[in-house]
Symmetry: C3
Subunit: 257 residues, 3 copies
């Protein structure tokens, strides 16, 4: 059904791996490198030129863009030149990723999400639909960001200051939360829905409200269903994670060896 | 101006009704059935294949997709295979509707809205711009959902549990409200702007805040302009509704006969 | 790389200025006037027909659409017929601008933003990503609107009343704020993140919270870095502003002469 090679543009300066599919109406620009077995769906733009392209097209050289192997980029997504993205990447539809976004392996980014560039995301991060990650943000590994979360970066708008938030490994930020500029979230935190976080949060803290306050240790949250805590979540959830075929402790110990 | 039959793809396995228009650059995939007089604008994708298509293209069979007659799908919208949508449906631009969304007749869904699939919406529902309806959600009839409302479904993220909210007939959810997993909103409710609803709400309740609290019966809300209550709204608003040419009581009585 | 004249549609009834570029897969419809040196990127729709087009294509006449010179419209944007937009306009990707939006010069509108039409925006306004501006809104000059801000307009939903908010010169509205119907924000105000504004706000007020309350005069906000106030911001920020090459007072005095 798809992949009819209809109205496809692939630059001669792009390097396309083995067994790659490029969808109809998609454009792959100069200096894009796509790893083996990756699928770029229809109406995508990979290696979108930087703003300087428009001011001097002749002198412009598109920076290298890397999309790792075994990835699935869904339709209408735009990935700018200068991005480096690891293998087993997947996106929803209409994702926008600006230049110089460095993203690890096994990451997922949901429909309509908007990554503003000059940011860093580790491995196995899941960003759901419609998140907005400002420039200068840092996201660790195994981080979940839920829909409509915003990472801000300007402490005194408007200004030329960029001071993005950071979220450390295994933490989660629930729907409609705002991380204010420069805020640092520790490991294994849970930021509740609709929170506005204005202060740094230590590891393992459930944080909630506007302004967000630390409520309790996530290990003390009782599940209504089980009566025990769901957290730290890696002991309860493994789908798509590297400990899927063993368990979290075994995987951690194997890593340390 | 439009509908120049430029770069259009229509599967031979699709059934296109009488007097249907398909816009430029649009794709209609296998097993799509489009009712009479429906307009699919440009750059749309109808019958988008499910994720399993990418893992085994040869064995894959696209499930049936039904778009009712007299509908208007605006440009850049994506409707997945396996959706069933009633007649007189209309969308804004860039709407995404994932697989197995069951939507009644005379519904409207606004620009950039994202329906995550495996959900059910009744008749005459208006979802405005940029709403996010998670899987397992249930929406009755004559329900209004305003911009940036999110229906969540995972009580202990991340997990494999799906427990979507439900909203019953004639209720409205104002901008930026979050319905937490499994919450049930009754009939004729009004959820105020920016509410986070964590508990079930009985019929006719105005509910507001974070966490949302029941404020009063909607029939007690005094309008600044008229001094009387606007609610229940079907007595004050009929545009596009089945009681448009009579009145709400007459229409209800006719139904009961 | 771009601008290969691939799958481009330009109406014979459009007027295209000198040195204009039209991107691949873009459509320019009847009665569009594009000023000199403007760049329309790929996959854009300029002069999108109004809803009445679909009910009577033969009788329909597309109203005039003006895009000023030296503008940059990024890919996948849709600008409806009947808009008037000044010179040095720029957009992000996937911007939607409905009919009869009147926008001044040197304005910027970010990715995925949704302007619902029948609204007015002055000069040098920056609307960031994913803002939603309802019909009947009024925005002055030098106004900054940050991501996920919503301008609402229906005081008793659903109704046929349209009463949009207004924001006066030099004011800013931070992320995730909601302006309720008919609210008037004065000059040089700062509306903090996540505010729900239900009352008119006089000039120079820092306003915050749900419901939003006036906190203090913006000139009394002490910056953590400098110990002095960043506000009024035109004395601290000039990038892209008409006082960029002199200073705010000089520019103001020159204007008065």
């Amino acid at each position: 059904m798809k992949f009819n090679n209809r109205n496809v543009f692939i630059s001669k300066k792009a390097q396309i791996g083995q067994n790659v599919k490029i969808g109809d109406n998609s454009s792959i620009y100069d200096s894009v490198i796509i790893g083996d077995n990756t699928i770029i769906c229809d109406n995508c733009t990979i290696g979108e030129p930087l703003p300087s392209y428009y001011s001097n097209e002749e002198a412009y050289i598109n920076p290298q863009t890397i999309i790792g192997g075994n990835s699935l980029i869904r339709s209408y997504s735009i990935i700018y030149a200068g991005c480096q993205i690891g293998e087993f990447f997947s996106t929803g539809h209409r994702v926008s990723i600006r230049e110089h976004s460095i993203i690890g392996k096994h990451c997922r980014i949901g429909t309509v999400s908007d990554l503003q560039g000059n940011l860093k995301i580790g491995d196995y991060c899941w960003l759901h639909s419609n998140v907005h990650i400002g420039q200068d943000s840092k996201i660790g590994n195994f981080v979940f960001i839920y829909p409509y979360v915003v990472f801000t970066n300007d402490p005194t708008p408007p200004s030329n200051t960029l001071n993005g938030p950071s979220v450390d490994d295994f933490s989660q930020v629930a729907v409609f939360s705002i991380l204010l500029p420069g805020v640092k979230i520790g490991k294994h935190c849970l930021i509740g829905a609709g929170s506005i976080v204005s202060k740094n949060i230590p590891d393992y803290q459930l944080t909630l409200g506007n302004p967000a306050k630390i409520i309790k240790d996530v290990r003390e949250i009782k599940s209504r269903e089980t009566g025990t805590s769901h957290y730290p979540w890696p002991y309860r959830f493994s789908r798509g994670m590297p400990w899927e075929d063993s368990d979290f402790d075994t995987w951690q110990n194997d890593k340390l060896r």
